[in-house]
């Protein structure tokens, strides 16, 4: 009797825990999507700082800070795509496609490519040479950011 009472107690605790964590997961997912969108917007701002230098809107220091930050945020990308977070903010423009998780290795490979190109952008910004920077910017944008968006980002119908 004690054993089965303990089994019941454990079962109940697990069930409560599961229900609790499902609720937590749902709240978590919303949180993750928000973090994800914030990360991407930050990356956009960092890229803007680099382009700003090319367009003579800001100085090289700001561009350098932007490029350095990009390298850091690239590392965080897998963290904002945990299992079970396909989709996006229903009022937003975009959603993460489920292929991200079914093709996780490819997702990581594209992320690695983007991370390398962010490093290359840092190196180009160090030279201060605008032609180098434009080339590295375009390469990162098209073949890094664009490659992932092309395969794994859905535009939500409005």
């Amino acid at each position: 009797m004690r054993t089965s009472f303990r089994a019941l107690a454990i079962g109940a605790a697990l069930a409560i825990g599961a229900a609790g964590s499902i609720a937590a997961l749902a709240a978590d997912k919303e949180q993750v999507v928000k973090e994800r969108e914030a990360l991407m917007k930050k990356q956009g701002a960092d890229l803007g700082a680099v382009k700003g230098y090319l367009d003579e809107k800001n100085d090289l220091a700001k561009a350098t800070a932007g490029a350095d930050d990009l390298v850091q945020t690239m590392k965080k990308i897998p963290d904002v795509f945990p299992q079970g977070t396909a989709g996006g903010d229903p009022d937003g423009k975009y959603a993460a496609k489920p292929e991200i998780w079914s093709d996780w290795q490819e997702f990581l490979a594209i992320r690695d490519t983007a991370a390398q190109k962010a490093e290359a952008l840092v190196a180009a910004v160090k030279t201060g040479d605008k032609a180098n920077i434009q080339t590295a910017f375009a390469d990162l944008g098209k073949n890094g950011c664009g490659a992932c968006h092309g395969k794994f980002r859905e535009e939500l119908k409005k």
Partner: protein, 279 residues
């Protein structure tokens, strides 16, 4: 025609080299290659889902039996610009001949020269997955009477060379309207709403309004903003385009600076048409 040609490219004596530039601008390889199944370039087989069914692109390598290797220059031009196959059958307008109809003789011949210099691939064409009677090619004949105006592109005499070059690229070679223009019940572009976006675009995806409407189009974009997205895919908010447009950027990034500027100049002068979706 000097007004239509981007200086350096027009001066290129070798038609294959001229053709290479044009084939990139028209992005033939994009539709005519089955990338998802590691298909060979220009060998066809890529599915394109439309409201009328799924079409599979044909083999346009110069292979003699399964490609277009036996086609004469006249037959090639007739297909490219009038939507008629070498055997006389109509092509479906999923092939954007309603836009390519504007391509000049010189450019069309250069396109053929480049394609015919590509490696041959033996790959029979896959039949389209289109329900009867939409699969009847002869029905395209009345469709053409109703909806098709054959070319060639005529430069506007009251516009400058840059605008005209942009008009030629957008309306003919780069065929932007084929994705960005809404379509009627018969699948024809609604030219009164040219470039105003298509909520039911290729593969069922929404395609944005690129007229200068400030609320639903790109009215707030500068000329440099448009050049930016064509150069490397970045929007004024430093988002990077995805989906089908990412593929388009692969080819627009290889245009000359002058051609991208011409496209931007033309787009900013297109009539602004509001559409349902907000940017």
């Amino acid at each position: 025609m000097v007004a239509l040609s981007s200086g350096a490219i027009a001066a290129e004596p070798d038609p294959v080299t001229r053709g290479e530039y044009l084939v990139n601008a028209a992005d033939c390889v994009g539709c005519h290659t089955d990338v998802d199944h590691h298909g060979k370039p220009y060998a066809g087989g890529r599915p394109l889902a439309t409201p009328f069914g799924t079409f599979y692109s044909p083999n346009i390598t110069p292979e003699l039996e399964t490609g277009i290797g036996r086609w004469s220059e006249a037959q090639f031009l007739h297909a490219l610009r009038d939507g008629v196959r070498a055997d006389g059958a109509n092509l479906f307008p999923v092939f954007p001949y309603p836009s390519y109809t504007g391509i000049t003789d010189t450019d069309a011949v250069a396109i053929k020269a480049y394609l015919f210099a590509q490696p041959t691939v033996r790959q029979p064409n896959r039949a389209h997955d289109v329900p009867f009677p939409l699969s009847w090619r002869w029905l395209q004949t009345p469709w053409k009477w109703l909806f098709f105006t054959p070319g060639p592109f005529r430069p506007a005499p009251d516009r400058d060379a840059v605008w005209n070059r942009g008009a030629y690229l957008v309306t003919a070679v780069a065929h932007c309207g084929e994705c960005h223009t809404p379509r009627n019940w018969f699948g024809a572009m609604e030219m009164s709403r040219f470039l105003a976006g298509n909520p039911h675009g290729p593969d069922g995806k929404p395609v944005p309004n690129i007229t200068p409407d400030p609320n639903s189009g790109i009215g707030n974009w500068s000329e440099e903003d448009i050049i930016g997205v064509l150069t490397d895919g970045h929007t004024p908010e430093f988002d990077f385009v995805g989906g089908a447009m990412a593929e388009v950027v692969k080819s627009t990034s290889r245009l000359t600076d002058a051609d991208r500027r011409a496209i931007a100049v033309y787009l900013r002068a297109v009539p602004a048409k509001p559409s349902a979706t907000k940017r």
